[in-house]
């Protein structure tokens, strides 16, 4: 990984917020079906979000930022999966109690203290991802723990909440959301900041995932679980890397963020050294320099280039397009020369931090978003153009320059945002939510929300959680993953198989088979290896009800000979999953020796002789056994067949 760092020395700490969709037929606050995704729509709604004033009469930082973006928000509706609740035209119905139950199960898995009365809160999101402008969410349990690498990770809380929209596009001032996922129930499991290396973060994501899966009541598949990773280093601040889709991304992301924070802290020292100590000391002014670039080889800085971009992207006034005429605006950053090329994440510089803010807040998203004096593009005449800009801004040698372009109003917002980002830099690491990319880099998404944007949902009454309810759920709670893993490990079941069983729900089947009398090791291998093998071979084993396999193991214990024909039985069961197993076995003629089976072996022996095979005694026996078992597997134990064949072969084939 690029950049090296001693995590302990840097004081890296990380925590997780793992979001897991629940397997309920309906959504959380309305009666729409959950999990029904659509890629088309039959209606559209256009909305805007306004921040509401906080308790102290201030606007929440995030809320204000999102208001500044002046986003037009479009929701795509499909009548199959949304009703008037999701589009915020009907108040919530009573909370889905099945979802609360699953959240309680998760709490019990983690040893949480379950709250006595669940209160629904609203958590504001003004990015449009939820049409109400807030997510309904509630704490169900607190104070849990997770055994991890011989120590304990604290579980701060488990909450139940509604899922948000899926983003379709985000261009300029228009963001489009699909609403199918909106309102589906999720649980969020929050750990303390107890993880100390990127590797631990990855491992903990997988472990929390296995806890969720262990309830047997969660969704699987793409997007069914997403995690936010909170990272900080000593002296830095909590940064939330939002919506990490895969555990395997976590290592590079956490590493990159640790490096970024360490570098931002160094930048802070440098800024202080230069005398930048507060907001007032950061001076950024700007000028319209459109005229300087009318003939520039950088065509995106010309009016014609901009018009082509707008036409090509089909950007419409009042939707994607911001206000005002096209403008190239140059900002002078007084005394900040050298800071734009300051390293941040591996391979990236502080200019990238500015670009992220400008893209999100000013809505200027035409690549490369900005140009700056420390890495101006290389073309003939570039130096002259840059000099003209510096001259126009009356730049001194210590000043840096950033150039942005687009609708005039947006360029002004961009310049204001550049200044704000530098003010943040004086403080070190700003609290941010960052968007992850597969290469391990992140980009600005929004200012991290504070507790001020949480307030009670006046539309929903609290839910009392009685002890009886909790005990009822505890009584049928599946085993915890670490208990299962330890038990299976002792039985010799490989760790990967154990994890597979827990992740894919096979663990529940194993326990059902054991309850029906199966040997746990056999059951574990059957579900974790054999069924997996058949599935890979295309046998639709997932369509087979669990009771069928339970029946199979019951037959195995009554007639152990059947075990030898497990593959044939399983394949046939996959073909006719709804038939009772007895009928399947009877049709296959399995379980009992056919009449005169011993006599038939004489023919086998004779046939084995005529093949002209290499006739050494061992090989001949194996060959004959193979032939015989084709018709006798699952009817006569192989060892009985072998015993007779041995006798027959020695009697007839002494000469061999």
């Amino acid at each position: 990984m690029a950049g090296s760092i001693d995590y302990r020395e840097a004081g890296l700490i990380a925590g997780l917020e793992v979001h897991q969709q629940l397997l309920t037929p309906n959504k959380m606050f309305c009666r729409c079906p959950a999990g029904l995704y659509t890629e088309t729509h039959d209606g559209e709604v256009l909305r805007h979000m306004r921040p509401t004033l906080s308790e102290l009469g201030e606007y929440d930082g995030t809320a204000l930022m999102e208001f500044k973006t002046k986003k037009n928000i479009v929701y795509l509706l499909h009548e199959d999966n949304v009703c008037t609740y999701e589009m915020d035209d009907t108040p919530p119905f009573l909370v889905n109690q099945q979802a609360v139950d699953i959240a309680i199960e998760q709490c019990l898995m983690l040893g949480c203290d379950i709250v006595d009365e669940v209160h629904i809160a609203r958590k504001q999101y003004l990015d449009g991802s939820i049409p109400t402008g807030f997510q309904r969410t509630a704490i169900v349990g607190v104070n849990g723990r997770l055994p991890f690498r011989g120590r304990t990770i604290s579980i701060t809380q488990v909450s139940v909440e509604e899922d948000s929209c899926r983003e379709v596009s985000d261009k300029g001032h228009l963001v489009v959301w699909r609403t199918d996922r909106l309102g589906m129930p999720l649980i969020e499991t929050v750990t303390g900041p107890d993880l100390l290396t990127p590797e631990e973060v990855e491992e903990a994501i997988l472990l929390v995932g296995r806890v969720c899966r262990s309830t047997g009541h969660v969704r699987v598949g793409i997007g069914a679980s997403r995690q936010d990773v909170n990272v900080s280093v000593r002296g830095g601040r909590r940064v939330e890397i939002k919506g990490v889709p895969k555990a395997s991304w976590a290592r590079r992301l956490v590493h990159g963020e640790a490096i970024r924070q360490v570098n931002l802290l160094k930048l802070k020292d440098e800024l202080i050294r230069r005398g930048f100590v507060d907001a007032r000391s950061i001076e950024v002014d700007s000028a319209d320099v459109t005229a300087l670039f009318t003939a520039s080889p950088l065509s995106f800085l010309t009016r014609e280039g901009w018009d082509r971009f707008v036409a090509g992207e089909k950007r419409r006034p009042g939707f994607e397009l911001g206000s005002g005429p096209f403008c190239v605006r140059a900002a002078r950053l007084k005394g900040l020369a050298g800071t734009l090329a300051w390293p941040t994440q591996p391979e990236l510089t502080f200019a990238h931090e500015l670009a992220g803010r400008i893209r999100v807040i000013a809505g200027l998203d035409q690549s490369p978003i900005l140009l700056h004096s420390e890495k101006w593009p290389d073309y003939s005449g570039w130096l002259a153009e840059l000099r003209k800009v510096r001259g126009r801004l009356r730049c001194g040698p210590d000043d840096a320059v950033v150039v942005v372009w687009g609708p005039d109003e947006d360029t002004r917002t961009a310049v204001a945002e550049i200044r704000l980002r530098y003010i943040d830099a004086v403080g070190g690491v700003p609290n941010e939510t960052r968007q992850p990319f597969e290469d391990g880099s992140t980009d600005f998404e929004r200012i991290l929300p504070g507790p001020d944007r949480m307030y009670p949902d006046t539309d929903s009454p609290p839910t009392r959680v009685t002890r009886e309810r909790v005990e009822g759920l505890r009584a049928s709670l599946p085993a915890r993953p670490w208990d299962r893993e330890a038990r299976w490990d002792a039985l010799g079941i490989p760790k990967n198989t154990a994890h597979f069983l827990i992740r894919r729900g096979g663990a529940t089947l194993v326990e059902k088979l054991v309850a029906a009398g199966a040997n746990e090791r056999d059951a574990g291998f059957f579900v974790g290896e054999k069924l997996k093998f058949l599935k890979r071979k295309g046998v639709p084993v997932e369509a087979v009800p669990h009771e069928r396999w339970v029946e199979m193991f019951r037959f195995f214990s009554q007639k152990p000979v059947l075990k030898e024909a497990w593959e044939r039985i399983a394949r046939e069961t996959g073909r006719r999953p709804l038939d009772p197993l007895e009928a399947t076995l009877s049709d296959l003629g399995l379980g009992d020796p056919p009449p005169a089976w011993r006599d038939s072996l004489l023919g086998v022996v004779a046939g084995a002789h005529t093949t002209g095979h290499d006739s050494s005694p061992g090989r001949l026996l194996r060959h004959a056994t193979g032939l015989a078992m084709r018709s006798l597997r699952g009817k006569v134990p192989a060892r009985d067949v072998i015993a007779i064949l041995e006798v027959l072969l020695s009697a007839t084939g002494g000469e061999a």
Partner: protein
């Protein structure tokens, strides 16, 4: 503040427990339960409607939880911070060249700020507060605000209408270029109807406005409705009593509905108000007005407003249903009701067993009028024999007047006269389009979802 209950909303076990532990609402606490969990937060007031077993805490992370009182093993009070709410005020900028608009408050929360701890909504109302919440208003007009009363819309009653009508008259005479009335949406239609009778010949627009999503929500329609209504009051050319609310549910434009022809048609949609049996007068958007109708009274400062704010509330609506028993009508007469609006079926029908009771009512001097519960269409009682029988009994059909409008008008009329002929003359003579001569074919449009052509239309337009 000394009379404020320090354990607000707490009853029974929860109250006893808090009292015993010596903490109160707004105490900052570290509360421990029998499982050893420590909850750090603030004790919140509890809703009176919740049970008496739980203590509500707002945790540091902003979430609320309820802890069963019997499970509390210890509380340490670390502080006390009573929430003092002050809505930030910014001076509403005075711009002499802009029109003067007066906003009258009746209690609906058009703009408000949230009490983040309890979730209670604190109304923003003064121009300074409104400017803080909806700064766009300052670009439209010079705003004056007056709080007339603070009641929920469902608690508005006749005496409130009188006060409101007089206040409107006073403001107009004092030179307002337009009036906006902040009102809860539930009975906004009723208020708009009766104001249409109580305040006549207005020289300027009178615009009622509210919101379907309270203004503490980021997605609220309140700010946009307020902007639209203030713009309409300041600039539009329609000098009538109107309702200004969302056209579609999208943030697109508002509609100006005539006060006597408008009805709330959905319990929660933003676009809940619809003009019934006619078309809205105008659209109001970011770029001004689109007049849909030419048939309205124009703004004219020289006209003198007539306030005639009287009422008799011994009136009611009988919403007819099959099998309605005649003793209901007798009971109304017995209780002294003077006017009955029937919302009849179809063209204006009720069942035969009611006839004698109605006849007794009419003979007792009660004024009985007929409207239709279909809302759209006319009471046309000449079509069937049953209708003609009802006319003979003395029921007077009110054409296409909406039932609620008819009730409001009857209350107003009965304060002027008890003479049967005069009552019926006044009822049947439209003051402000409450009866229209013609129903345009696009005055009745309820698109049926699912039809291919409707789906096609929905796909191509903002909902």
């Amino acid at each position: 503040m000394s009379t404020v209950d320090p354990l607000k909303g707490y009853k029974g076990l929860a109250r006893e427990t808090l009292a015993r532990l010596g903490v109160r609402v707004w105490s900052e606490v570290e509360l421990t339960n029998d499982a050893g969990s420590v909850f750090t937060g603030v004790i919140l007031p509890r809703s009176e409607t919740f049970d008496d077993l739980h203590v509500v805490l707002k945790l540091k992370n902003g979430y609320n939880v309820g802890v069963h009182a019997s499970r509390i093993t210890g509380v340490v009070e670390t502080g006390y911070k009573e929430a003092v709410y002050k809505i930030p005020e910014k001076d509403f900028p005075a711009r002499p060249n802009l029109p003067k608009v007066t906003l009258l408050g009746t209690g609906g929360t058009i703009a408000s700020r949230l009490d983040y701890r309890t979730g209670a909504v604190i109304p923003a109302f003064s121009p300074g507060e409104l400017y803080g919440a909806v700064p766009e208003l300052a670009d439209i007009c010079n705003l004056t605000t007056k709080k007339i009363f603070g009641v929920f819309s469902e608690n508005m009653a006749m005496e409130n209408y009188v006060v409101l009508a007089r206040a409107i008259g006073d403001e107009i005479e004092a030179g307002a270029d337009g009036i906006v009335i902040g009102h809860g949406t539930d009975t906004m239609g009723h208020t708009a109807a009766i104001l249409s009778f109580m305040v006549q010949d207005t020289p300027v627009p009178i615009v009622l406005v509210g919101s379907q999503r309270s203004s503490d929500r980021p997605s609220s329609d309140a700010a946009l409705n307020l902007i639209h209504s203030v713009r309409a009051a300041a600039y539009c050319d329609i000098a009538e009593v109107m309702i200004c609310m969302f056209g579609p549910t999208s943030d697109r434009y508002g509609l100006l509905h005539r006060g006597t022809r408008c009805r709330k048609m959905h319990s929660s949609y933003r676009s809940t108000f619809r003009t019934i049996g006619d078309i809205p007068i105008a659209m109001v958007g970011r770029d001004g007005f689109t007049y849909l109708s030419r048939d309205f009274r124009k703004r004219d400062r020289s006209r003198k407003v007539q306030v005639d704010a009287v009422y008799d509330d011994r009136t009611t609506i009988l919403y007819y249903y099959p099998g309605m028993r005649p003793d209901l009508v007798d009971a109304l007469v017995e209780k002294g009701y003077r006017g009955i609006v029937i919302a009849g079926t179809g063209l204006g029908h009720i069942n035969k067993p009611l006839y004698p009771a109605i006849k007794r009512a009419v003979e007792a001097g009660v004024h009985v009028v007929m409207t239709v519960q279909t809302l759209w269409g006319f009471a046309q009682m000449y079509v069937y024999d049953t209708g003609r029988d009802l006319l003979d009994i003395g029921i007077v059909p009110l054409e296409n007047m909406l039932p609620e409008t008819a009730l409001m008008k009857l209350s107003w009329v009965l304060a002027h006269t008890d003479d049967r002929n005069e009552v019926m003359r006044m009822m049947r003579t439209p003051v402000s389009h409450e009866i229209t001569a013609r129903e345009p074919h696009n005055g009745y449009l309820i698109m049926q979802g699912g039809l291919p052509e409707t789906q096609e239309w929905i796909r191509g337009h903002w909902k």
